[in-house]
């Protein structure tokens, strides 16, 4: 059952420069995907591809000058793009929960950890404080925090990175969310800790039947923990599908380069940043966003690009999807 449906999402940064000219950075260009309960989707891409922006667009936390200019986002049938902020605020933190990148700076430094969990529960669910407190301890146990009763009295700055990330997970789970969005949940953590957190995450997803979106630039994370993958570049999803299929047979030149750049059988933490200029979002070319960096590019690529289904549920945004090997194979462009 589809929980989240993003259709043709366009998000732009619209501002005026010093010469009073309007400049538009087209950061998201027709992003579409859907997510069902109990499924884990991994969104990969280099910095600036639009991954975090997609998450922000979904929960309505875009900061000016960014705003959604087209498309729709439906959550359980409800349209999120036109929902007033007050209503969205009720969904955030309850039905849709977010785990962010910097756990130690994101937690309120002036409130004890346990109190923050209780506060989050009280705000959305109300009820007696003891019940919230009990649930807070339960969630801390669920995320593997040892000795939760005394940990609940710690201040955020007393926690290690891994522990703080677990706390964020506990925060996310407090109100039994249906959708969990994790934005770079393991960046900056030790590799062993990363694996623990992700194992935990997968376990929790299975237990609570949540739909989960993991945003990362690390292919290894996606390879080990996700069911589906969406590869982003220049604000578009260039390839999407079941993880195994996409890695076994990448059908888009960009995905191919990504996969080729991670030869160690998708070891986690070995995320290589692809060389090449990021696309200029203020002046995107007509047609395919990858034109200037793609070895296979032809004149056809200057026309609007179709999203071709190369295999079951496996899509590629390329004129030559599925026919790449017929083109003269080029070197990966530096």
């Amino acid at each position: 059952m589809t929980l989240l449906d993003v259709v043709n999402l366009h998000t732009h940064f619209i501002s005026r420069d010093i010469d009073n000219q309007v400049r538009t950075a087209k950061a998201l260009n027709g992003v579409s995907f859907s997510l069902a309960s109990g499924r884990i989707l991994g969104i990969v891409g280099e910095t600036g591809a639009g991954k975090s922006l997609t998450a922000q667009s979904i929960i309505g936390l875009l900061r000016p000058p960014a705003r959604i200019v087209g498309g729709s986002i439906t959550f359980e049938g409800r349209e999120l793009t036109t929902m007033p902020d007050a209503e969205l605020n009720k969904i955030r933190g309850e039905e849709i929960a977010m785990v962010v990148q910097n756990p130690r700076t994101s937690l309120d430094p002036l409130t004890r950890v346990g109190d923050q969990l209780v506060r989050l529960h009280q705000v959305h669910r109300g009820g007696p404080k003891e019940a919230s407190h009990k649930r807070a301890i339960e969630m801390m146990e669920a995320v593997g925090i040892p000795d939760p009763k005394s940990r609940a009295r710690s201040w955020p700055h007393e926690l290690s990175g891994g522990m703080a990330q677990r706390v964020l997970l506990a925060m996310a789970l407090m109100n039994a969310p249906k959708l969990l969005i994790a934005d770079e949940p393991t960046t900056g953590l030790d590799v062993t800790v990363q694996a623990q957190i992700l194992d935990l995450l997968r376990d929790l997803v299975a237990r609570f039947n949540m739909a989960t979106m993991i945003i990362t630039h690390d292919l290894g994370v996606v390879a080990h923990f996700c069911d589906e993958i969406a590869v982003m570049f220049g604000g578009c999803i260039v390839e999407s599908g079941p993880v195994r299929d996409v890695f076994a047979a990448p059908a888009h030149p960009y995905t191919r380069k990504l996969v080729a750049a991670t030869p160690e059988r998708f070891r986690m933490g070995s995320a290589k940043s692809l060389s090449g200029q990021p696309p200029d979002l203020y002046n995107l070319p007509d047609g395919c966003v990858l034109q200037s960096r793609c070895a296979h590019a032809t004149d056809l690529c200057k026309t609007p690009v179709p999203n071709i289904e190369v295999a079951a549920s496996h899509f590629s945004l390329c004129h030559y999807a599925g026919k790449l090997d017929a083109n003269p194979a080029g070197q990966v462009q530096a």
Binding site: I59, L61, K90, V100
Partner: protein
Amino acid sequence: MTLQRFLLRRALMVIPLMIGVVFITFMLVRVGGLDPVGRLAGPTATQAEFDSIRENLGLDRPLWEQFGIYLGNVVRGDLGESWLSNRPVLTDIKERAIISLELLALGVGIGTLIGVPVGLRAAFRPNGRFDQLTRILSLLGFSIPTYWLGLVMIFVFFYLLGWAPPAIGRMSLLVSPPDTITGSYLIDGLLTANWQAAWSAATQLVLPVICLAIVSAAPILKQTRAIAIEVLASDTVRYAHACGLPEHIVRRVVLRNSAVPVLTFVGTEVTGLVGTMSLIEYVFAWGGLGQYGLNAIISGDFTAVQGYVLALALFSVLVFIAIDIVVHLIEPRSELS
């Protein structure tokens, strides 16, 4: 770290600072070759009398020796004698300190009570109409000369409207001051149930306090706004929004996270505001430490200037330390357990 160790560490840091401050004060009055001997000797003194006075004051010794002597005197509480008042400088200062403190506390207190809430409100709706207005007003507050403001207020409220009493000090000439307990006419009047004195003191206080409040509100407002805006853009607040926390709770988070930086700022502002207060005292003939000091500087009363500047510096240091301690007590992130 326990409280005692913390205080001890702070005290240890203060001592070199104070020695440095005494040194700067010492050098300050000797910078331009201000010659105290000429003043004391008078126009008819002979060379021999000049020399003997110079020897008396110790000015014939090398500079570093003079400093040593001065430092020793300061530690013992001997700040010399003012040639204007012919009394020990320390006595002069002790009498007047409470007077200025009263004005400072009221003025800066009210200024903070205005500046902080307005700055916070402006930060919650940046670039809105309220914000634009308060930015202009606060920049205006930075630009108005305090003494001129005092003069204009005297003109409007005393001369034109007759609401305020004449600006000739802390008490009307027709009322006799209350018995001295604290030194503050207002407090002493209230404590001794001398309602006439208390009322007179209060009405005299109104204009100078408003003056000081306006001028101190400006920087506090501006800085509070800047701090609050930074907090609003922080990871903490972004995450609070992502958790769906309602507006009033986010507001509380912002307030609490802004408290320490704002408090620290007000502490540092007090130093500058002491200078401003001195000007207000001058205009309103207040008779406090500020006016004493300004007069001393203008008339070249060497020892009085030294004592005055030292007293101001000491006050600033005490304020810094007090704020430091308070911050460490309320911040969970401090080294204090």
